[in-house]
């Protein structure tokens, strides 16, 4: 494979130190460049970050994951990235699977790759029933709003190639960014693909992750976004 500049964007907000360190070590051991975006955490993330050979950015205020990803994308653009990967810091995503996500981009089969929990039966079983219902509903909400039906509505694990980075600007500061990306994919006619990924639901990530009630917030963000246009 030719040498591509791959940047993994890791947004963090009040992440547990040990979990964050493990995430960074996993990524570094596989040789990826990391852009760590501290979204205004209360703890001193820089103190942890300076121990690793990574790019570190800090939001002075907490803006939300969408905003942090957008900051990371801009930084990656400045660094002439060929591919960016969105990666959660809470240990849910598996660094070994980045290769799978990148592959279709390297082959120029598509512009953006989404990770999906629902393409693999084994992965499907690890998801709680309530989460399944919300995610299934979310798929169809996305379908109604954006005309794209993915197997997994809100998966934070994605890879985007450099032409698509220019076309994707996240303005949804909080969690509705996942749907916003879909909207942009549709609007800018980007080619997309889904790849099965395994999400590791640890006690920590469950606690740290979104409550299913947040889907209500996301829905309202989307509705108001439509009205504001």
């Amino acid at each position: 494979m030719n040498q591509q500049k791959i940047f993994v964007i890791v947004p963090v907000f009040n992440e547990d130190e040990a979990v964050l360190k493990r995430t960074l070590q996993d990524l570094l051991s596989l040789g990826y460049n990391i852009i760590l975006v501290d979204d205004g955490s209360d703890n001193d993330v820089e103190e942890i970050a300076r121990k690793y050979p990574i790019i570190f950015l800090r939001h002075r205020l907490n803006l939300g994951q969408g905003a942090a990803l957008q900051t990371g994308m801009r930084a990656a653009q400045n660094l002439a990235a060929d591919i960016v990967v969105h990666f959660d810091a809470d240990g849910q995503h598996d660094a070994n699977e980045i290769q799978k996500l990148i592959e279709p981009l390297s082959k120029n089969e598509c512009d953006i790759v989404f990770g999906s929990r629902f393409l693999n039966n084994k992965d499907k079983q690890s998801i709680s029933a309530s989460k399944k219902i919300v995610l299934q509903t979310g798929r169809y909400v996305n379908r109604i709003f954006y005309g794209i039906l993915l197997s997994d509505a809100h998966n934070g694990f994605r890879a985007i190639d450099k032409d698509a980075i220019k076309k994707i600007t996240i303005t949804q500061n909080r969690m509705a960014h996942a749907s916003e990306i879909l909207h942009l994919v549709k609007k800018k006619l980007l080619r997309y693909k889904e790849v099965p990924v395994t999400i590791h639901y640890t006690e920590y990530s469950k606690q740290k992750g979104q409550s299913i009630f947040n889907s209500v917030n996301i829905l309202f963000d989307l509705i108001f976004k439509k009205l504001n246009r």
Binding site: P53, I55, F56, H59, R60, L63, A67, Q70, N173, L227
Partner: protein, 117 residues
């Protein structure tokens, strides 16, 4: 004239003046606000007028009609404020992002220097 009428008129006029004195907003907002205030003054001076309109609309009392109008204007106002807050949030995000990018630190460069020592 009942005592409540001059009181309401005074309150409306104060709000009316302060709105145009301190809040600058889109022309459409200003026109809308002017209509709301004029309507308010009209309804205070001629309470029977509301009853006339409301009965012609099939709503019982004039007060009920005012109540419905108030609900609608409140919802509109909330929407207006929401979209303004949204715009502000995005502007703040832009500022914070610019600052974050300007202050980006590349620890990999420093690491290499350390290794070289």
């Amino acid at each position: 004239m009942k005592l409540i009428q001059p009181l309401l008129l005074l309150a409306l006029i104060v709000i009316f003046i302060s709105y145009f004195r301190w809040f600058r907003s889109a022309v459409f907002d200003k026109i809308l606000m002017a209509i709301i205030f004029c309507g308010g003054i009209l309804f205070v001076i001629l309470p029977d007028f509301t009853t006339k309109i409301s009965s012609s609309l099939g709503v019982g009392r004039g007060a009920d009609l005012l109540f419905y109008i108030a609900i609608i204007s409140f919802s509109y106002l909330i929407m207006l404020l929401y979209s303004k807050i949204r715009r502000l949030e995005n502007q703040i995000a832009e500022l914070v992002r610019d600052q974050a990018i300007a202050g980006a630190k590349d620890f990999s460069v420093k690491k290499n220097e350390d290794d070289g020592k």
